[in-house]
Structures are given as C-alpha cells and as structure tokens.
Symmetry: C2
C-alpha cells in the first residue's frame, strides 16, 4: 500500500473544508484560523480498536466513525464547547486491503466533517500483520462563550441535582457486540442547549462511557463532594437489570450536576434527575431501595 | 493493569505544568489558554511503533520520546511556529508490564515538557497481546508571529536557493536499528532562528524524514516548481554513499528554500546550499556530476 498517496486521496475528498482551514492537510502541520476572540482551546484524545470497540471484521468505516464519535462525546461533556477540528493516526496491519483503509478514513473524515470538526491531520503507520487495526483521534474545540466556565468534573456544588440524559444500558449486545454504541449520537446538541438555558447554573458534567457509577465517581472525587443517587430514578433500558446498566459502559450519555430549573427534555432527549450533591468526601452513595451502597475507587462496598 | 490509575499517576508527575493549562489532564478535555492575539493554531499528528520506529524490546521511554520528537520536527518545519501542547494515545498489548507502560508515558511526558509542549491529554487502550506497542501523538503549536507567513511546502519561489540543515545519512545503523534517529534534536531552534533572520525571505520548508529526495519532491510538487539539486553539494555523513543518504529517511533535518543571505550555520548546526528553485512542473532534478536524474513520484528516472 502506498501510504502517502492514499492519505492524499482521502484529503482530496475534502472539497468542502471550512474557510478556517488556512493550511490544509498535506503540509507538515495544518493551520486553523480560530473564531474571533478565542482565548482558550480545548483538546482531547481517544482511540478505537477493532476487536475492542467494534467486533472483529466490522466495516472499517464504523471503526473510524466510532473513534470520532467517542471524542465528540468528550466535547459534549464540557458543555461550553464546540468541536473545531479532528486529527487521526491509524495503525494499519500489514496486508490490510487498501479498500479497508479507505473505509476507515472515510468513516473518520465524513463523521468529523458532519460535526463541523474537519479532519485536518492524519497519519497511517504499518504495524505487524498480527496487530489490531486501530485509530487514535484527537479533537479540538473552542468554548461557545469564552467568558463562561467549562463544565469540568470538579465543578459540582453542594445542593446540586444530579442528572443523566437518555436511557442507560443496552448500548451493546453481549453476544454479537453490535448495538448503538457503534453509531450513537454524541450529546453535543443537548449539552449546548443545557449550557444555553442554564448558564452558570450548570456545574459539573461528564460523558457516561465507562458506566454511570464509575463516571459519577470521577465527579464526586474531583469535586470532593458526595453524590447521593437513587437507583429507582435512573432511566434504564427495557430488559436490563439496573445494577448492570449502571456498571456497564458505552452509553455515551451525559451525567451532570446543576441548580435551577432543568428541563425534562432537550433536543428530543429525556433528562432525568437521579440524585443530589451533598457535602462529603468524594464518593458516590447509591440507594437501591433497601440499602445504601458506597461506590469507591476500590469497587462496590455494601453498607447499610 | 489499571489504565485509569496509571494515567492519573503519569499526569500527577506534571507538577510544573505551565500556567496556560487552565483545565489539566484528567477531565473530559484539557483546556489551554492561548498566547495573547493568537488567531491561528497549528496541528499535526504522527505515530511511533515498536519494531518499526525503534528496535523491538527497546526501553519504552525511547519510543515515547521519539514519538514526540517526530512531531516536534514537524513544528520546526513550519518555521514560524512554537510548540504549545501534546496529546498521546498509546496502544498497549495485553500482558505488557506496567513498568514498561510507565516508561512509555515518562518518555512522552518528559520530552514534551522539555520542549514547552506539555502533555495535556492521553489515553491508553489495550490491544491484543500480539499487537505492536505503539503511540500516536498530536502536537499543537502557535505562530511565533501571527502576521507573518508559515513556511509551507507550497511556498517555494523561482530563484530561491535550496538549503539543508545538518548532515544526511547515518541516522540509523542498518544492522542494529540503533542510532541518532532514536534521540535526535528536532531543529526547532534552527528553524526559529532562520525565521527571525530571514523573515519573509524564508519560503518553503519541510523536515527530512522520508529521505531528502522524496521530501524535496513534496516542495517541488506543491510549489509547482522544479528543484535543481547538485549531489556534490549535499552534506553526507562519512561512510555513507551519497545516493543512499538522500534516499534514506529518519534524518529529521530541515530542507528549505529562501532568498537573501542565508547563514552558513545557526544554533550550532551547519546550513548548506544544495540547489536552486527553477520554473518548472513540480519535479526534482538531481545532477550527480555526470548526468541529471529526474526524481518523480514514480521513483528515479535516469535522464541525460
């Protein structure tokens, strides 16, 4: 495979690159003009690996798409953020058909462009034939409002409600590995609408990718507060056991804390209050109807 | 291995993160305050794979370091650019010792910080035990002078001299795979000093990573000019055949075109004029003392 020529062909498809791309892909670096008055940029990086984030043998387009969607979910979780540009480094096992590499990059390029974060940099590197096909994606974003705060994990305040978007559980089929985790809608619209409505009343936010309890644990720890959660309030997919659904990952919903009037639905997505932020020491306490379970970094500790 | 905890430990080493890092690693995204009056940012991404960019079994610190150095070389090649921040996604084969992963991230973190581009984002993903250890790095930079041009590959002008920094060839030992490609000095200081001295007289630039001829080919093609190179002028490492040295990669020197008085040395690195930019159609013509060889995308074509 001619790596350079293939990448050039991928980027040649970018006929509609936004005007902000002042040096397009193909140089040593791409250059991007920032929106006026931008004083801060946001960056994150996350990967997708065949056999781990998708079933083996999947259309590589789906792997590329998921890699970008995972990063967009991180942008959503800052609330005051708009995606801006994407870069991708692919690891291509020797012997991979060129058509498959092409599909990977089309998944990356089309998904990124669709969410206004054009693919402006890329690299592909051959790895041994036994290696997994994988792609590492970096995403850049700018604040929607430079003068306002970002919804960091450390921003929860005592008395905040704890909320979650959508419905948890069922994002992937345990047998086939398929499911909506392969083509989810990153909650950018919901996050931006929440930020627009709540402003400084929106505090901490995280995307639910590793399971609700573990992700809430990050907010609890970084905010140094206790999150009290009522299991009965958590919206759970039909057919899923609640304790499974909240320990599971790949939901790509948002969990957040806020004061004020939080709407019950935004951009077509339900928003549910599931608990309250209390003074405390960085743990999650889950009330399952009969008893309270403390969720710590070491796992689940059954309490009273 | 506890991926999350290990990453947290890596980032906890960042006691000296610059003040521009307003949301440090550990959130959904990192946030970076840009230098005042920044209207453009530069981005690039490049990987390093064990067994390809380093020998197998190398201290993983070296793999991490090289991944960052390769990206810094791209920053250097824009001339009007300062590195600003780094992100890294590592693919870790199942069964890799935690100490090895730690060394990888220390190589990434320390090298990035040393070049004022702190590691602000990272991710590690398990891949199958047979996969290569690899790391994809993204680097961000800002222009040194926002009102001045970047030294893109398409900026060569008729009449420019063609120059190269340092000495080509010998960056790696063909038997052991060792050599200075594992710990080179990216030519940031030289590039920035050239930009400071030459200003708008510095035109196209590229880093010499795939072999001088191939890299000059990118300038020729994108600038739509012919680059006439005299082989006898190219500074070649002792013991290397010139035609090998210019076809080889991994030099991480700079090639550039400029008018005006170009110094013979900057920041301790020799700078040598090796040719001239002529009107033409995007090819490199190499005069080897007896005849002229045309270097095209298809390879070497021996002419008259």
């Amino acid at each position: 495979m001619q790596e350079f020529q293939l990448l050039e062909r991928v980027f040649a498809h970018n006929v509609s690159l936004p005007a902000c791309v002042v040096v397009p892909p193909g140089d040593d670096m791409a250059a991007l003009r920032l929106p006026p008055q931008t004083s801060t940029i946001l960056v994150a990086a996350d990967s997708a690996v065949e056999g781990r984030h998708t079933p083996v043998g999947v259309d590589a387009y789906i792997l590329g798409r998921k890699a970008v969607l995972r990063n967009l979910s991180d942008v959503a979780a800052m609330a005051n953020a708009r995606p801006f540009a994407t870069l991708a480094c692919a690891m291509i096992p020797v012997g991979t058909e060129e058509a498959r590499v092409w599909r990977l990059f089309e998944g990356l390029r089309e998904t990124a462009l669709q969410w206004n974060a054009p693919l402006v940099g890329g690299d592909m590197t051959s790895v041994s034939a036994e290696s997994a096909l994988s792609v590492a994606v970096t995403i850049l974003a700018t604040p929607t409002d430079s003068s306002a705060a970002l919804a960091t994990r450390s921003s929860a305040r005592e008395g905040d409600g704890v909320y979650v978007t959508g419905v948890l559980g069922g994002a992937w089929d345990r047998v086939t590995g398929l499911g909506r985790h392969l083509d989810f809608t990153p909650r950018l619209n919901v996050a931006q609408a929440l930020f627009a409505q709540l402003g400084s009343q929106l505090h901490a936010m995280i995307d639910v990718s590793d399971g609700l309890m573990q992700d809430l644990g990050h907010i609890a720890k970084r905010s140094a507060h206790t999150l009290e959660i009522e299991l009965a309030r958590v919206p759970i997919e039909n057919g899923w056991a609640p304790m499974d659904a909240i320990a599971h990952g790949e939901d790509y919903e948002l969990a957040f804390t806020a004061t004020g009037e939080v709407p019950a639905q935004l951009a077509g997505v339900p928003i549910t209050r599931i608990g309250t932020v209390r003074a405390g020491d960085g743990i999650v306490q889950l009330f399952d109807g009969a008893r309270t379970v403390t969720v710590s970094r070491a796992g689940w500790e059954h309490g009273t």
